[in-house]
């Protein structure tokens, strides 16, 4: 699709928006992963996320620009219940992150899954991400097979990666691109739901200068 086919009736350009929520215990690296995907770098001075942070990046799928909105949530339990609730609304896909060096973060996945389920998202594309695979010895890390079993049980793909290693950038990229492709392929439904749900953020984009690329140095909007 070219720029002009993005033209809306009113003369405004629209881009499809996919909202992805990133969940997982505190410290597993949610902020670093979303930063890596949106900025192409490791965030070496990450801070505790208070509430919800937002990043985005535009990717190109089948010649169409798609905006991925990533909602990076606070991992601490107390923010979950009343606070983050609001952000589950209209979410299209879910990333659940654990830390391969901390089994307890893997064991929390059950409760994260429950939460996802309680928001009616268990049918949405979801991926499981084991982060920090650069850390420790292979023996000290949670066995892939073990994680894979859980991932299969919930019917979600598993990725093991590191937000830290530059060499893992492609892998981080494919986590989000997998979701984007899944969502894109669901599109007929997606478009219907876009029109059916008030407040859905289809964003208008005047003044497009040149067609964005699908990857590389796309700048994050807000960091």
């Amino acid at each position: 699709m070219t720029e002009s086919t993005n033209e809306h009736i009113g003369g405004l350009k629209q881009k499809k928006v996919f909202k992805i929520i990133v969940l997982g215990d505190s410290g597993v690296g949610k902020t670093c992963l979303t930063y890596r995907f949106c900025e192409g770098q490791f965030l070496d001075k990450s801070e505790a996320t208070i509430g919800v942070d937002f990043r985005e990046r535009t990717v190109r799928i089948c010649n169409e620009d798609i905006k991925l909105q990533l909602w990076d949530t606070a991992g601490q339990e107390r923010f979950r219940k009343s606070m983050v609730q609001h952000y589950y609304r209209n979410v299209h896909a879910v990333v659940i992150v654990y830390d391969v060096t901390k089994p307890e973060t893997f064991h929390s996945i059950a409760s994260w899954m429950q939460e996802v389920e309680s928001h009616g998202l268990s049918g949405s594309p979801r991926v499981l991400v084991g982060n920090k695979c650069d850390c420790g010895t292979p023996e000290s890390r949670l066995a892939t097979a073990y994680a894979q079993r859980l991932a299969d049980k919930h019917g979600m793909p598993l990725f093991e990666t590191s937000a830290l290693l530059d060499s893992e950038y492609d892998n981080v990229e494919s986590i989000f691109m997998t979701l984007a492709h899944k969502l894109y392929s669901k599109q007929p439904l997606r478009v219907i739901s876009v029109e059916g749900e008030p407040g859905y953020g289809v964003v208008t984009l005047p003044r497009q200068r040149r067609p964005p690329k699908s990857s590389g140095t796309d700048k994050c909007l807000c960091s």
Binding site: K15, V17, S26, K45, E47, A48, T49, I50, G51, V52, D53, F54, R57, T58, Q69, Q76, R78, K81, S82, M83, H86, Y87, H119, G120, S122, G123, A145, Y146, Q148, R149, L158, T178, H181, K182, Y184, S185, K186, Q187, P188, L189, I192, S193, G196, G199, G201, V203, L205, P206, R207, Q208, R209, R210, P212, T217, D218, K219, C220, L221, C222, S223
Partner: protein, 436 residues
Amino acid sequence: METINPDSELDETCNVNGDCTLLMKNQSMDLNHAKNIDDISTPSELKFDEDFEFEDPDVTAKRKEIEKCLENPNLVNLEQWQSFAKSKGGLIADEYRRRIWPMLVGVTQDEMTDPPSLDELSTHIEYNQVELDVKRSLKRFPPGIPYEQRVALQDQLTVLILRVIIEYPHLKYYQGYHDVAITLLLVCGDRASFPLLCRLSYGPKAPLAPFMQATMQPTQHLLNYMLPVIRRADDKLADYLDKAGVGTMFALPWYLTWFGHSLNRYSDVVRLYDYFLCAAPLFPVYVTAALVLQRAPEVFACECDMAMMHCLLSRLPDDLPFEDILVTAKKLYDENDPTDLEGEVAALERREEEARRLDEERLRQRRAVRAGGGRGAGRGAGRGGGRAWRLLPRSPFARGAVLAAAAALLAVYAYYRPDLFTRKRADGADFEGLLE
């Protein structure tokens, strides 16, 4: 805001940045603050230096007065200290703050005791969370601080936090508490910070106490005063924020940390603390309202979309005129007492409750539909089916589309990640054993 990248491929980034930048430039012209847009996003550029070169003559005069009072602090009453802390420029310098902050909250010399060692506290149940947050608080330390000194301060910070929650076991640590604690620690040192932080955390009027309850519900409730305050001052702005559905989350870190987490300039943070330490517990919420009002032009220039608005508001520019904002906040407070606003807050909460109820209702229906007629749709497509059902009732097209989508999605996935599929196979050998 962020660095502007002229080569950015992301058109909407350019637009939003462009708009923000424009506004920020206008603002900084009003403000006589030297500002560099490029300086904001990276932690290392946190600004600690106070600019003495062009000191306002009023400030110089105030400095003299404060020094005079500090010569004989026992002869000075609390109102005097409060007046220094609230009036323009606040307490001016950390050397004054160190002595005046404890007096503002009524901490006495004999409450300032030596802290226990970290080892004694490291078995505490919250130790890991505190440690994790403290480790990530690098941005809050003066740049160029020697490594050993920083590590020592971080240990002091962990001890300080744990000491308080050990002293008051019913108080729960929250992420952001460490941002308050470090501000106190940097200004007052570890002995004085402990009683100070206790005062702020425990007691019927302790401003941080609501944040430390079992849930964040009390915090949410207090933050809900922000929008009604904004509405009292600027109806249109409130409507616009409502329409975007931006909620209050963008202001949550401001309130929980008294802006310590969200501002890049150390001097702004301590200035606000001067005021908050002797203001009403809810006053910081009025400051969040005043801050949003201050940024109204940017808000109106922003797309009326939840994500865009959240993004715009949550990142604070470096050149905010806090003296003006504080004056506005005080005026808002005087004119709209919290008790006056209760009705509006209750109405807002009812609306939110209703929205939540509708959401849940919709979810239940979707589930019922899925449970009743979902035999054709696979697990992965279940939700899509539910949606399609709701939006295109009884359309045979919907189910077909779901199945097609499910197939396509699998194909796309396998296509996109052949390596993962093969990797899975490889790992699968022993994993299949586990399943059997």
